[in-house]
Assembly symmetry: C2
Homo-oligomer: 239 residues x 2
């Protein structure tokens, strides 16, 4: 194991973390681009997002294979084990973010064929910026190993939910006011939901970072659970 | 390692598989119950589904912890390693099915407060039966180790998508015809999408079983990719 050409377990873990960071960068770009595709009705950009998704899938599969191989052959323990498992799980969450960005890009292709709904796409843009910022923040926390920053993303999970709930109501109001907006409105509803899900993945990643660094599951009420309860109440009002 | 009270690695893998099968049974029950809650407007049943979800989360977390521990300390190779990784990944897919069932149950609570939309809930019921059947089939394939059965679920993925697309159109038609159905219709759109996602998870599980048994990634075109392409075309028609 001391041959210079054989990587140490520590090196393997760190190169895994670097690959996850790279996947994170790709996911961030996909999210920014799919939101731009919606707001600018940019068909080539939407097609580029759809086409690029396979790259993220391949990188996630590679990270998974390497993480499992590392755990099975190097038997890491303690922080090194948690760091390997965290890389595996964060990569899964990022790959899902990529899928959601691809779905948003596909719906933007449909929307580009109907009349623009400018005020609504502006609300989508604001929500897109919010969740993209949340993902950026949690990826900064991951690469810097900053627990406080990760916890910060976790406790502010409900902002995204509140944004989603207000967008949901805004969309329904539009659809009720003008039946011609029902079909594009339905696609915008799913786009809003996909953005909310990206926010959930940022929160999941914050929890994974917390466990990696401390070895403990996050204490206190999960904001996600809270907000789901609240969301259920809001849904009742909406229904 | 030969003490009778120390479990062999093989025993540990098989007890992991049994736990995954148990989680599968719980997920199947949640899906059946949430669809019944929608069609029968059964508030206590919906509340029971929401309350039971924590059980599935806890079981998935336990499976994950045990699978990682097994891989890190017993260093399984070949089929035993693939079987441990498959257990870990199938449990994640089942936990997501549980989340989707919980979301459907929550929306059924909202729907129970507005006028019933009987023909639409009947379409939801049919789609619910279809995806529940798909999940049952793939779990049978898992516990019996039957490759053909798993492949059968994989190749028929598009049926679920076609069902979803027709339900999507049916819902939009209703919403356009009567603005009072827009709010409940939006919840039914999300319920239909959640059922389609459960179908996707059944397909994912089929792929995981294939890899576990053969060591190869499924060959040929992924039906999911195909159907996503086609779905994008369908969405265009809908938009």
């Amino acid at each position: 194991m001391n041959e210079p050409w054989v990587k140490s377990s520590g090196d393997l873990v760190e190169s895994l973390v670097a690959e996850v960071a790279r996947l994170g960068g790709l996911a961030e770009a996909q999210i920014a681009d799919c939101v731009d595709a919606v707001t600018r009705r940019d068909v080539p950009l939407a097609q580029a997002v759809v086409a690029r998704d396979v790259k993220l899938d391949a990188l996630q599969a590679d990270i998974e294979r390497r993480a499992i191989d590392l755990i099975a052959t190097r038997q890491p323990t303690g922080r090194a084990l948690r760091r390997s498992v965290a890389a595996l799980k964060i990569a899964m969450n990022l790959e899902r973010c990529g899928d959601l960005a691809r779905n948003i890009a596909k719906r933007s292709l449909v929307l580009s064929e109907s009349e623009p709904l400018t005020p609504l796409t502006r609300s989508i843009e604001r929500m897109g910026r919010l969740v993209a910022g949340r993902l950026k923040e949690v990826l900064d926390a991951y690469t810097a190993g900053e627990l406080d920053k990760a916890t910060g993303v976790w406790v502010r999970d409900e902002e995204v939910d509140e944004h989603y709930n207000s967008l949901f109501r805004e969309l329904l109001t539009y659809m009720m006011g003008d039946p011609r907006t029902i079909a594009p409105g339905a696609h915008l509803l799913f786009i809003a939901k996909n953005l909310e899900r990206i926010g959930d993945h940022a929160t999941n990643i914050a929890e994974i970072i917390h466990f990696e660094i401390t070895g403990d599951v996050m204490s206190g009420e999960r904001p996600k659970w809270d907000s789901l309860q609240r969301r259920s109440d809001t849904l009742k009002e909406e229904g």
